[in-house]
Amino acid sequence: MAEKKVFGYADKISVKPGDDIGFYVHADGTRSVDAQLVRLIHGDAHPAGPGYREEEIACVADGMWDVRKQFTQVGAFLTVADPSGHLALDGSFSLCTFIFPTNPGGGRRQCLLGRWDAFGNRGYGLWLNPDGSLEFGFGDGNEVDYVDAEVPVLRNNWYFVAATFDARSGVATLYQEGVSTRYNSLLSKVANVDFRSHVRETMRFRPLNPPDLPFLMAGAQDRHTLRGTFVTQCLNGKLDRPAVFGRVLTRDELDRYRDTATAPAEGLIAYWDTACGYTERGIGDRVIDRGPNGLDAEGYNRPVRAQTGYNWQGRDDCFRLAPEQFGGIEFHDDAIIDCKWELTRTIKVPDLKSGAYAYRLRTGDAKGLREEYIVFFVRASKPTASILFLVPTGSYLAYANEHLSFDAEIMQPLAGQSPILSEVDIELYQTAEFGLSLYDHHADGAGVCYSTYRRPILNMRPKARMSSMGVTWQFPADLSIIAWLEHMGYDYDVTTDEDLHREGLAALEPYNVVLSGTHPEYVSETMLDATEDYIAQGGRFIYLGGNGFYWNVGYHSDDPWCMEVRKLNSGMRAWQARPGEYYLATTGQKSGLWKDLGRPPQKVFGVGFISEGFDSARPFRRMPDSWHRRASWILDGIEGEIIGDFGLAQGAAGGIEIDRYDLTLGTPPHALIVASSGGHSDNYQTVVEEVLYPYPGLSGSHDYRVRADMVYFTSPQDGAVFSTGSIAFSQSLPYENFDNNVSRLLANIVTAFSKPGKLPGWAWSAEEKQWR
């Protein structure tokens, strides 16, 4: 009997009562799990807080669910629907493509393109073989015959490769030439590397081309008794403009293809123009075939588009300027966008109070891997509350299933501590099927730019702790805000980033006040626009976190579960996009920091990212402006100057990731600093986007800028913004069962903000005439 495990995901992250939501569950070692709908209230089991809290909600779907083992297709590739068998090449043929291998060799075979059955040795293919050399081969259902190149390909250089096969004589010829420009490859011509190889051999038999075999690019078909057919031999690297011909191309013709990427019309079967289809607003998963048969290819697990091609000249850094230079389409053998499991259960969402919910699945002792929460958020059918908690689901996606403790050497010095791993963290690290976060690298070293919720997200669960930092992070941390709203008895709704991205301002408009999550770091332009408009037309916004509104992300309109980011040149970033690959394939916008796009968070929220540190946190101390009557009401009932010298995140309210007031970055001139943290440790370093030259003295004990500012300002039509500037702030709320000065401070603000009309202190705006 296998060890018992249960994992699952839902097809939606945000629903309204009456909507259908599908659950997809995988289980090992058991055929059924005990399912219970729960409302999630508090997610942090830290002894200083109220502990973990959930509430069971009766639902018709509760009870035992039949579950099964599910299989996941990992790896990105392209499929081609070819019902009339144009690609079942029984005569002579040629295959060619440009390729940028990122992880050749290493004992793994990677298929570039072909119709190959790795299980039955049938069909044909063009590969990088386990030694990292180009190889062309085919099988007759029994044996394989192949020809390989003279030298292995070198990683991160562009090549043009081709194979021709003459069915009459059995002669197969390989063609491999380097096509680097000065810009797009790892090595310059000064490195004296001869990339070329041209090898010819006479094969012993002809390929067998059964009709049921699919033509794939960047993968090949395999079979498993339980699982059926699946795709293996996935590629790490970029392809550009692959083509198939029904005849043998001459050396001259291939030379011309290499130089121009145009396919001769004679004998052309398919020519996938990877540079075709770009619009001002990006590009989708379909790769257009400009050959005579219209054999368009579809991406599986979202191969990365908008990448530089074999002919990128460095001058145009975006596909919008020179689409023909952006034919690169990048594949990773560990990419996962949608697990596409078999549906376990669909439920119609009952009439639930708006909030965070989960289907709790339990088996065995219901600990560790034997307990799963499939989290989703229920919106109000019709907004009635005046308070909205805006769940930063985009940021949850960014951190979904992060591997930092295990893979990132920088994580321990960054966090100033050794990681505390759980059984779940280890399971995540061992399981490629759960995919990676936007903080991880693919196995070939490239940063991960897509993350989705169509897969189990083991850290978007209550109770989860971020192993590298020893605190709760994102969703479980945000539950402290929900728990606070519950405890204080406020009437509130929740809505998610996804809804905000889809509906824009309309999602926020019905509410008097909107509360952010603790770390709303990843936002799309639509989301930022809506928030800005909301505040500008009288909305009140409480930014309850730090390092928010930081990265520009994109979503495709047809699959909102998948988010894209490109990390580039500046910002606290886990990876760095290659030159020329800074633009989002999903929207056509430049990604990176909102600050670098002209929209620093200070402009809308008064504060922006200044520093992070994870070894300690520090309390806030009242600033003189908090005695001004415009803001003094915020501190009503709070004694002393120190606020939040306690908390569930490193013991204080100011810390983890912290934001600062900065007029030069657009903090509204009338903003007040109500309180500031200070005295941060030297683990708090000034963020790189604020550093021009790094010099000794950019850390907490040296640099006055390293602090969290609570900032308050009013906006048009009785709107207002209050920002806490600290992630740890919200984790101080539950301290001593919510009876503390941080909780009091927030309550003052929420109570005031949720009432329509004038805000307290609005009238104290005359010029000062001081006697003291």
Binding site: A45, H46, P47, D145, V147, A149, E150, V151, P152, T173, E177, A191, N192, V193, D194, R196, S197, H198, V199, R200, E201, T202, R204, R251, H403, S405, F406, D407, A408, E409, Q412, P413, G416, Q417, S418, P419, I420, L421, S422, I426, Y429, Q430, A432, A443, K463, R465, S467, G470, D615, S616, R618, Q650, G678, G679, H680, S681, D682, N683, G700, S701
Partner: protein
Amino acid sequence: MTDSSAPIWIDPIDSQFPEKPGREAVTNSFLSHQVTWDETTRFTPKMYPVGRLRYYYKWPGHGGRLWSRLRYWPTRRRVLNIHGDYNLKTMRREKTIVDKRPIWWALALAALFTMPLFVPEGFRNTVMSAASVFAIYAAINLCWMLIVGTAGIFSLATYAVVGAAAYGATYLAIMLGLPWWVLPFAGTLIGLVFGVMIALPAMRLDGFYYALLTLGVVELCRVFVVQSRQLGSATGGLYGAPSYLPDGLSQSNRLLFSYYASVLLMIFALFIYRFIDGKRLGRLLRMAQEKKEGFAQACGVDFIRARIMVFLASSAALGFIGGFYAIHFGGASPNLFSFDTLLLSLAMLVIGGIGRAEGAVLGTLIVVFIDRVLIDLGPLRYVLIGTIMLSVALFLRGGLFGIKDQFRTWRDKKKSERRATRAEKGGEMLPEEATEMEDKDQVYFRRFDKMQRDFLKRLVSDAVIAEHQSRPLGQHSEALERLLIYFRRQGQIDKYAILVLEEFKAYRIVALSGHRGTAPRVVEDRNYETPDQAYHALFLRRVQDLLET
């Protein structure tokens, strides 16, 4: 280590909270991190120049030219296994013949075919008849090698099969008046029957017991033919088999003809060897050698079937050789079953090297040359053979053909011994080590890391450890902070981490694998009640590791 005048460190960040007294901790005196650099910038070991002269020609790559590769028709095998690569010293493209054996074989076979031209007249009879014997024995040994080398079964029944086939074929020829060309095939059939007989006990017996059993079979055959009147007990052998030699050849041409016939027989045996050893069956057998059967079976290898197949195939081939023996020598003699024949053959295999075709052939050549050509030495010949065999057994691991590998292993051993005496562990790389490092950045890293560790070792003191215990996370004194930053910056392989057994109750120390998909390993079975205790225990382990390097 703590002395009473140790300096006090004051937490600088507490200055921001004037209402409380600042935190103070005993710490170390300031020590410049440059002290180790100053101390170790001079290299103590003697530096030898490295680099090896390219005194031989190496083919460049084909570059843009088309390289048409030849195969042995109708197989997929290329005529020469040539590997192209980049010379990492110049990035020049070069080609290497990975396996030069086909060249040596071609030269050796050419030498065998032209050998009669170079034999001095006076020795012609001796040498040519010895050469035929060499080729026949080489053929037998090749088939034997399949059992002893490829399958790894110590069978001594080889000559029982050859002899039975020779006797049987001769007997049939005498009784039925068969023509000469039928005899090898008759021998093949007899060999097959024998193959079944000796394959069956191999199912149950192995090692020494199987060798004894097969030895018994040989002895049984010898006693049988010595006593059987029908098999020529009176004449000391059974003679009267037809000869394949055409009538009317001169004595020297007869010798020449039979020599070439024997060489062809050897080539036949080489093909048999190649087609069993070099194909699927050979791979299965090599995987399922004695004592490894269980593993092979667990991998799905049906080793019993494979062993039966190799016994049948090699016995049939040996039977064929037995039939050829009969038509070559005109019959069979009990000598075939004698113990000294067996031992001489064993000597051939051992001298050449078990498990290689070239070993079987070269060993046979050496032994037959001593035995049949150096007749003048008399019985001393056997002493010579014995001496060679003993020396091979004493000094060589894989016979003569294992010398190259053995030499390289020995050279590697010497290399690491010398390096161990010249270099400090984990210290500055020697020039010879640097030649093996593709990423030169690592060469500097080693220098830096060595000096840093030397420096950090001096910072470890009771005061620093006590300070860590009092607050594992947060701001630390300079000495402690330096240690922690170094520890945290280490590579992921075997880096310590903490495993939570029960949240806020039980923690344990593990070490990361540094390899995606591989879980951390547990390094000790102690549990700690709080994260702070676990942080400190982990710190102590790191300190200990540092001091031990």
